[in-house]
Point group: C2
Chain length 202, copies 2
């Protein structure tokens, strides 16, 4: 795409196309959309994004995103701060919160150990987790079961295994409502090996 009729437009398209999953063509469509609506709406949009990146904070305890020093979950006296669920990213916190099944607190690592992408333990919020772990009763690993996820869990396991706390991991198995015949072999195998008493599933 050459021949932009306006340098302002070209610069905007280049900026928008830097976002992940957005190519030049989509960026141009989005820029023209911004031009079709009232300018005040896009000014507000730009202000909202600027406020987001300048004012948002990380919870001093669990490293989730929040608007104050501590997040709503860590501040809540009804949450059990002795149970810490380790997740990669804030989206996992949101997903678990949406289930309404968890009463403990979280620890957001900010990523997974990935030598391929040059992410080592030092880039993640691991040291503060070790500090918190001394006061915990249980730590739940809730990372995705990829090579990076398993590597990260194993690294943390080695750091935490000497502490007198329970280390657990979320159950892997066939999704509720899923057909057995479409499940992959590893998942199906695990769900048989880790079968639970029928009464517990009710």
């Amino acid at each position: 795409m050459h021949h932009y009729p306006s340098q302002l437009l070209e610069k905007a398209v280049e900026e928008i196309a830097q976002l992940p999953g957005i190519g030049k063509r989509t960026a141009l469509r989005l820029a023209l959309h911004l031009l079709k609506r009232p300018a005040s709406q896009t000014e507000f949009f730009a202000q909202t994004l600027t406020r987001l990146v300048k004012e948002i904070r990380r919870c001093q305890t669990c490293y989730s995103l929040c608007d104050e020093e501590q997040c709503e979950i860590c501040k809540n006296p009804h949450r059990n701060s002795k149970i810490i669920c380790i997740v990669e990213d804030i989206r996992d916190v949101m997903a678990i919160e949406n289930t309404g099944q968890y009463q403990g607190v979280y620890h957001v690592l900010g990523g997974k150990i990935s030598p391929m992408e040059g992410i080592g333990p030092d880039q993640l919020h691991i040291q503060p987790l070790i500090d918190r772990a001394h006061k915990a009763r249980e730590i739940i690993f809730a990372l995705s079961s990829t090579i990076e996820g398993d590597t990260t869990i194993f690294y943390l396991y080695k750091m935490l295994k000497e502490l007198p706390i329970k280390l657990s991991t979320i159950a892997r198995g066939i999704g509720v409502g899923d057909e057995l015949e479409y499940a992959d072999e590893v998942t199906l195998g695990r769900s048989i090996n880790h079968r639970i008493p029928y009464e517990e599933s009710l």
Copy 2:
């Protein structure tokens, strides 16, 4: 998606999700991406969008977007201002410019007549086109051949047909490099009816 850990994040996601083709999930992914890169980069991004909508202008002649009063094409003395190509939108100008085959000027309508979407002739830049047409030698209709495109062309045709100018439309036919067997019947039919002398195709 409920339970946003931050109101700033929730508002940003809502704003991003108002863009066409972007749902809440993608908006959250984009917002978290903005938070991962340096804040200064997102501030610059926001400034670029604000400048775009506040400073960009429409060419006083052809209604294309530009940074000054008149666009580069209308200003260019080497372009033939007697030949006006009518397009729906600035993307069509860019596409035709990319071919390097056209030496005339443009007129951007800003849309197509569409009673279904409540777009009548008054919302398009049609009156200035009629004014320009009096000084033109040829007008080329380069609108997509949908119901709305054909309606718009027919409306313009009725307005312009009494003027002593040539009215033409871009050729429809089988794309260069396309297989005949996969072409739709209407296109293939037209390309036979509007066949051209072989020498002209060289």
